[in-house]
């Protein structure tokens, strides 16, 4: 969804090569499904949800659903044609992850490199429960004693 500009940023993205490439590539029409939705709204919804969680490889930090980069358009074309051919979103995601690694997906899967992302929230949940039990649970009896 949101890309550029946020915080302190007065972000400075220099006019880099990517930019010049963008200009030159405008000469070629985009891939058929880069900017065209699937006819079936249910399939399009599946595709859109998936595209919102795939990373544009030519951009700084944008999903392919939020980017005008030609390669993002080509990736959208792949996603839509594959959905149309009957593949499931998760099949398409793993097809891309097999080629680009976890970097291409904004949805980390539990793996040898990402397990702390899931273990730490669980640990946090336990710690939070413990803190609340200690802070609130015991206090009550303390308060009764004091009173």
């Amino acid at each position: 969804m949101m890309r550029l500009l946020f915080a302190l940023l007065a972000l400075f993205i220099g006019p880099t090569l990517t930019m010049q490439q963008t200009f030159a590539q405008q000469a070629m029409p985009p891939a058929p499904y880069a900017y065209v939705q699937l006819e079936d709204p249910a399939l399009e919804a599946e595709a859109a949800e998936l595209m919102g969680t795939l990373r544009c490889l030519k951009c700084q930090s944008q999903s392919i659903n939020d980017s005008d980069a030609p390669m993002a358009g080509d990736m959208r074309h792949q996603v839509r044609t594959r959905i149309l051919a009957g593949e499931s979103p998760e099949q398409i995601r793993s097809w891309l992850v097999e080629r680009y690694g976890d970097y291409v997906s904004y949805e980390p899967e539990v793996s040898s490199t990402t397990w702390p992302l899931f273990a730490i929230p669980l640990l946090l949940l336990a710690v939070v429960g413990l803190v609340l039990m200690r802070r609130l649970g015991k206090r009550r009896s303390d308060a009764e004693e004091v009173n």
Binding site: M1, A7, L8, P15, Q62, S63, V128, A143
Partner: protein, 666 residues
């Protein structure tokens, strides 16, 4: 001359910060007895004046496009409209850092000039810490990011400003956000001052509260404005992507939100002493961490500045000095501060503690997800963490938090019986369940947006319940503030949930005359024409949008090409209705239709209630303003009453001392 004056003002400010620090440190030991302690306050005030002056001098240099200054030559252009010349001052690393230190000095100056309620020793310690922090950031600016550096030969023309920044959003978003970020430095200094002098008391909390609230109001407003800016400027209709830099602005907000609630507990009930101090340290630490992440380039973000590892190391050293130092003092001293008064689980404090812990957990999740790629990259593995991670992981803690947030304000301090508020509990619970059932019947939506909608309505009703059965004119202003802010959260949550559940999208290649349907709107491309601005050319589409066959509204989205620096941007066009926004973007040409007319990419979204996100944000900020106003007024009244009492006592004493009145002379 302007540049040299600005630089001199900065060096002088640095010297004054050193004076403030030393004088404050003397005051810690001896209190007001030390003859040297009296310099801290004036040093802070004069420093504020000089740092702000320095910033205005840079502003002037940008206004007149002084191309002999390197920063102006690199980042400005004489053909830009004046407003963007001015806002371009903080559209780059050095200028924004100068704004940062100017706000830092101004906060310190205001604190020194206005705050007279604290014990002198605590105040000295606070000013010493504020001076110490300021010295570091002045050095950073002067030694590695001098904004006033001259070019040996003035440039003929400037390099220009990133076109995405040439927008009114740049005038509003960074300054408000910086005031929020850096305003938290006062909370940090006060917390450290109280910790060093062991004065973590309700009186200290009352002093701390308006500063936290003030910074928090600006943060809330800054984030809201930034989100809306990104929404309309970037041309894809997104308003939050969990980008590292977005997260860098959210984390201080989460910490400050937790802090302002725990400060209330400390002020009202003398509980949560160490926790409040910890949050005071944490909030500003998150601000500094954000500055580090954005300016060091260790994380990949679309928002980052030109990257320079030397600057990164400098800020990291400052982080180590201030955050590390504060945490060492905390570890040494926290044990000597008792926990404070006790309370039961079913009490106002109990609910506030619960939500404090939840906010901290959300903060931990955001921090983990943001920094995790940094960790794996140390092992040469690149991963991406985005919305599919943050949304559910955050929701685990956010959902219980919203539930308790609905109930908490209805509970009494210290101890309460849930049976007393059973009507309110039943009302809110039935609303939430009814909405979940209703949405589930009418459509197939994801779990989180449905829960969000239901909780938003339940919370919206619950937020108003504290007013029930009270004479509205007698409700304290601060209570109005709380009601308004909580209601604002409900409104924003409703907007977020509605946007993600109900948005409809239409992408199409259309020739002039063609029409498309989206979300009950008919959108017709009428014509395409080239237009030119002061530093860009564009193709502009004339689009007619009508709803349910009503009068059409004319929209003019543009696809712009800026020439200095050369970059294309999409200027979206919006129609705002009470129940949502129509969002129209014109893209590139896309071939021709059967009869040979050129077709254009048209992207249209209907986003029901999306505006509630930002209305909610504004309500939250407004609630904060009401609270500051209410609290300060009550405090002033009490102080005046106390002062009047003192005067009367003194007069009485004087009368008594002077003995029987002498007989009037004839």
């Amino acid at each position: 001359m302007i540049a040299e004056l600005g630089l001199a003002a900065l060096w002088l400010s640095t010297a004054l910060a050193a004076l403030q620090m030393i004088s404050g440190a003397m005051g810690i030991r001896d209190g007001a007895a030390s003859p040297f302690a009296i310099y801290a306050r004036p040093a802070a005030v004069v420093q504020a004046f000089l740092a702000v002056l320095s910033f205005f001098l840079l502003l002037y240099a940008f206004a007149v496009t002084d191309l002999s200054i390197k920063l102006v030559a690199t980042n400005s252009h004489s053909a830009k409209p004046l407003i963007y010349k001015l806002t371009g001052t903080w559209g780059n690393h050095e200028g924004s850092m100068l704004l940062w230190v100017a706000v830092l000095a101004l906060s310190g100056g205001l604190l020194a000039g206005l705050e007279h309620r604290l014990k002198e020793k605590t105040m000295s310690a606070t000013l010493a810490v504020q001076g110490f922090v300021a010295i570091g950031f002045y050095s950073f600016l002067l030694l590695s990011s001098n904004p006033f550096e001259r070019l040996p030969v003035p440039a003929i023309e400037g390099g220009g400003l990133n076109p995405l920044l040439q927008d009114i959003g740049l005038a509003i978003h960074p300054p408000t956000l910086y005031i929020g970020y850096v305003g938290l430095s006062v909370a940090f200094s006060l917390a450290m001052g109280a910790l060093i002098t062991r004065q973590v008391t309700p009186d200290f909390a009352k002093v701390l509260r308006p500063w936290v609230l003030g910074a928090w109001v600006f943060l809330t407003f800054g984030i809201t404005a930034g989100s809306y800016w990104a929404y309309y400027e970037l041309g894809w209709g997104g308003w939050w992507f969990w980008d590292p830099v977005e997260n860098a602005s959210l984390m201080p907000w989460l910490a400050a939100t937790a802090l302002l609630h725990s400060v209330s507990v400390l002020a009202a009930r003398d509980a949560l002493r160490t926790w409040t101090i910890m949050l005071g340290v944490l909030a500003f630490s998150m601000s500094m961490l954000g500055t580090f992440l954005v300016r060091s380039g260790v994380l990949t973000s679309v928002h980052s500045f030109a990257v320079d590892p030397e600057r990164g190391s400098f800020i990291l050293a400052l982080l180590g000095l201030y955050i590390g130092g504060a945490l060492v003092i905390f570890a040494l001293r926290a044990g000597s501060i008792s926990e404070g008064k006790r309370f039961s689980m079913t009490s106002r404090e109990g609910a506030l503690v619960f939500n404090n812990v939840m906010l901290s957990a959300i903060l931990a999740i955001v921090l983990l997800g943001t920094l995790y790629p940094l960790l794996t990259e140390a092992f040469d593995v690149r991963v991406s963490v985005g919305p599919p991670y943050f949304n559910p992981a955050g929701a685990i803690f956010a959902i219980p938090m919203f539930v308790v947030m609905a109930i908490g304000p209805l509970l009494r301090w210290k101890d309460d019986k849930p049976a007393r508020i059973q009507f309110e509990l039943a009302l809110v619970a039935s609303i939430v369940i009814a909405i979940i059932a209703l949405v589930a019947i009418f459509g197939d939506y994801n779990v989180l947006p449905v829960l969000g909608l239901a909780l938003a309505v339940g919370l919206g009703v619950a937020a108003l319940l504290p007013l029930r059965g009270r004479s509205l004119r007698r409700v304290p202003v601060a209570t109005w503030g709380m009601v308004c802010a909580h209601f604002g959260i409900a409104v924003a949550l409703f907007g977020m949930a509605s946007e993600s559940a109900f948005t409809t999208e239409r992408l199409a290649a259309v020739a002039p005359g063609d029409a498309e349907e989206v979300g009950g709107w008919t959108v017709q491309l009428e014509s395409i024409a080239p237009v030119a601005g002061p530093n860009w050319t564009a193709i502009e589409a004339r689009v007619l949008a009508s709803r349910g066959g009503g009068e059409p509204t004319i929209l003019a989205p543009q696809s712009r090409n800026f020439w200095s620096p050369p970059q294309p941007t999409s200027e979206s066009a919006l129609i705002t209705r009470w129940d949502g926004q129509l969002y129209v973007v014109i893209g590139d040409q896309a071939g021709t239709d059967e009869s040979g007319n050129p077709r254009w990419q048209l992207r249209v979204w209907w986003k029901p209630f999306v505006t509630f996100i930002w209305y909610g944000g504004l309500l939250v900020a407004f609630g904060g303003i009401l609270s500051i106003f209410g609290r300060v007024r009550v405090d002033l009244k009490r102080r005046n009453a106390a002062a009047r009492g003192d005067v009367r006592r003194e007069e009485l004493d004087a009368l008594n001392d002077s003995g029987p009145l002498p007989e009037p002379a004839e």
